[in-house]
Amino acid sequence: MANIKVVLKLGDDVSTDIIYPGRFMATVLPAETPQFAFADNAEFNRKLKAKEIPPESAMIAGKNFGCGSSREQAVSCLKGYEFCVVARNIARIFLQSAINLGLNIVICPAIEAAEGDELEIADGKVFNRTSGKSFQAEPLPKARQAIIDAGGLIPYTRKLLTAKGAKNSK
């Protein structure tokens, strides 16, 4: 991926309460959640809804991105804008849900970038074109590749379920 613009820079421990505040949790369907992404950041939320931010833009986060609640809306709302999340590391439930829903995530422990910077992501590296610096990305857990290749956990589970001789375990 080339020329990905950083549109939001976040700190450490950004919880799912920040990404998708609890008061909007009655909205569950993935198609309806993007309107509440970062709802408490009024200006950013407005830009998202006004489509002022192009798809496949990046947000940069520090450590422990997506910590806290397991609410999947925090993943589906970002997936709705086809965000690329580049974080120093990602909390467990958020990481797995991102893989399950096909949200583009990059774990990059030393990433340095500012809002407005342009990134290139390829071959396990994040290259900040603006600063000229390159950062090593960590591979996603190898065992998850089958889910990513299948296009997410729903098609992957469907495949397992309908595979010849497959039966539910009891």
């Binding site: 009655a26 909205t27 806290g68 609640s69 857990p141 956990l153 729903i154 309908t162 009891k170």
Partner: protein
């Protein structure tokens, strides 16, 4: 090489002699729990079956539990619609471990699972709620997952891609001083570990302070283990686990009780002498911003919350009632109480606990998640400050990003309710007691 408790558990479940940290397994699931977000699980579950020509049927309705707790009674027509959708699905699929909005069998999922005997030592429990870590207190490997992951579990009966986690051994020794509780222990531990200190690992609790601790306290420890990033908190089962399951949860079948190997290898060992602990406070806006109470005492409070899946159990309410009995909540401060289940609520009524809290000025609400996650009741105004026995103080958590939430034990919350400022429960609180005859319990 010796195995930790979670290694032994996963090896047993997967029929292996040995598992190593990092091994990827697909263990069968003993119990799969959801609450109102079951509406999303249903949506994803039905999508899995689309185009397969198969009827969308869950793998085992007896291993699924659904509990309404996040928004009860429904605060909006949207929530009522989600609850209706779930109710219909539960009926169609024959799911019997379903707890609707009822004043007899209702309550918070992380209390209903233990008290109804749905959790046993030795199995894998998953829930679409991050505080599913709670059930490690009964020796289950229990962790939170997303809704789509749960849909896959409902279809397959097993959970894909579980990496055997490394374990941090926490040894808690000594006797708790007066007015210091398991909540103070877990806050102290999270403060030391940081919000990500146990990421992708489990906390395994040991020591004489844990052996003496009743299950209610162990549930609080494991509940908040996720606030240090832990996949699960775990108390290897013992005599107390057996007592709780037999006497309080009515479990009659054989229990699989085992411990870690003596030569188990831990990622880290943390030793805590609880006799030296002071009441702890987690300050805004992260749970790991923990300070001993002396550093924040005197902070003006607008709302006190006692309850939740962390500290809404009978002993928590009793502690609060003992402190508040015959006293009153300070003017300018409101106090909300959310028992963790109706069973607890009823026992608390029998003991006069509810009456004591109510007569002191607390508003005792129906069991449920209440204001903890800011979706239903007890929202804060701009610049207001809350002190709560709940588990999270993230910005916006209690419904307003311009408010602050501090976390503490029930004793600290009750003492602070009397004064209207953060107050050390060990202090001799001088307030006017109600006159004789004013209180009839």
């Amino acid at each position: 090489m010796g195995m930790t408790y979670v290694q032994k558990l996963l090896a047993k479940v997967c029929g292996r002699a040995q598992v190593a940290v990092g091994d990827v397994l697909e263990p069968e699931v003993r119990l799969a729990m959801s609450h109102e977000n079951g509406a999303l699980v249903i949506n994803q579950f039905l999508e899995i079956f689309q185009g397969t020509g198969r009827q969308a049927t869950v793998w085992d309705p007896d291993r699924i539990a659904i509990i309404f707790d996040h928004r009860i009674p429904a605060e909006s027509s949207k929530t009522a619609g989600n609850q209706k959708k779930i109710r219909e699905f539960v009926g169609r699929q024959g799911i019997k471990k379903f707890h609707d909005i009822r004043g007899d069998t209702g309550g918070i999922c992380h209390q209903l699972l233990p008290e109804n005997g749905y959790v046993r030592p030795g199995g894998v429990v998953v829930g679409t709620d991050s505080h599913t870590t709670t059930h490690g207190a009964l020796g289950a490997f229990s962790f939170g997952i997303g809704a789509t992951e749960m849909a896959s579990v409902w279809a397959l009966g097993r959970i894909l891609n579980v990496e055997v986690p490394a374990a941090i051994k926490v040894t808690a020794a000594g006797k708790f001083p007066k007015h210091v509780y398991p909540k103070d222990l877990i806050l102290h531990l999270i403060g030391g570990l940081s919000a990500e200190g146990a990421n992708y690992k489990v906390l395994e609790f040991h020591g004489d302070a844990i052996r003496r601790m009743p299950t209610s306290g162990r549930l609080a420890l494991c509940n908040m283990s996720v606030e240090a990033g832990a996949t699960s908190g775990l108390v290897p089962p013992d005599a107390e686990t057996r007592r709780y399951l037999r006497e309080e949860a009515g479990v009659k079948d054989t229990l699989d009780i085992f411990g870690p190997d003596p030569d188990a290898v831990y990622d880290q060992v943390i030793e805590i002498d609880v006799s030296k602990l002071e009441p702890q406070i987690a300050c805004p806006h992260t749970v790991d911003n923990v300070k001993p109470i002396g550093e924040v005492a005197g902070k003006k409070l607008h709302q006190i919350v006692i309850g939740s899946c962390t500290n809404g159990r009978l002993d928590d309410l009793e502690i609060a009632a003992k402190i508040l009995k015959g006293r009153r909540v300070a003017d300018g401060t409101r106090m909300l109480v959310f028992p963790a289940s109706w069973r607890i609520y009823h026992k608390a009524m029998d003991l006069g606990v509810i009456q004591a809290l109510s007569r002191a000025g607390a508003v005792v609400c129906n069991p449920g998640c209440g204001p903890c996650l800011g979706v239903h009741q007890g929202a804060l105004a701009d610049n207001e400050v809350a002190l709560a026995t709940t588990n999270r103080n993230f910005k916006g958590r209690m419904g307003n990003p311009k408010a602050e939430v501090y976390l503490c034990s029930p004793a600290t919350a009750a003492a602070s309710a009397i004064t209207g400022v953060i107050t050390d429960p060990r202090r001799n609180i001088k307030t006017k007691r109600l006159k004789k005859g004013e209180l009839k319990i």
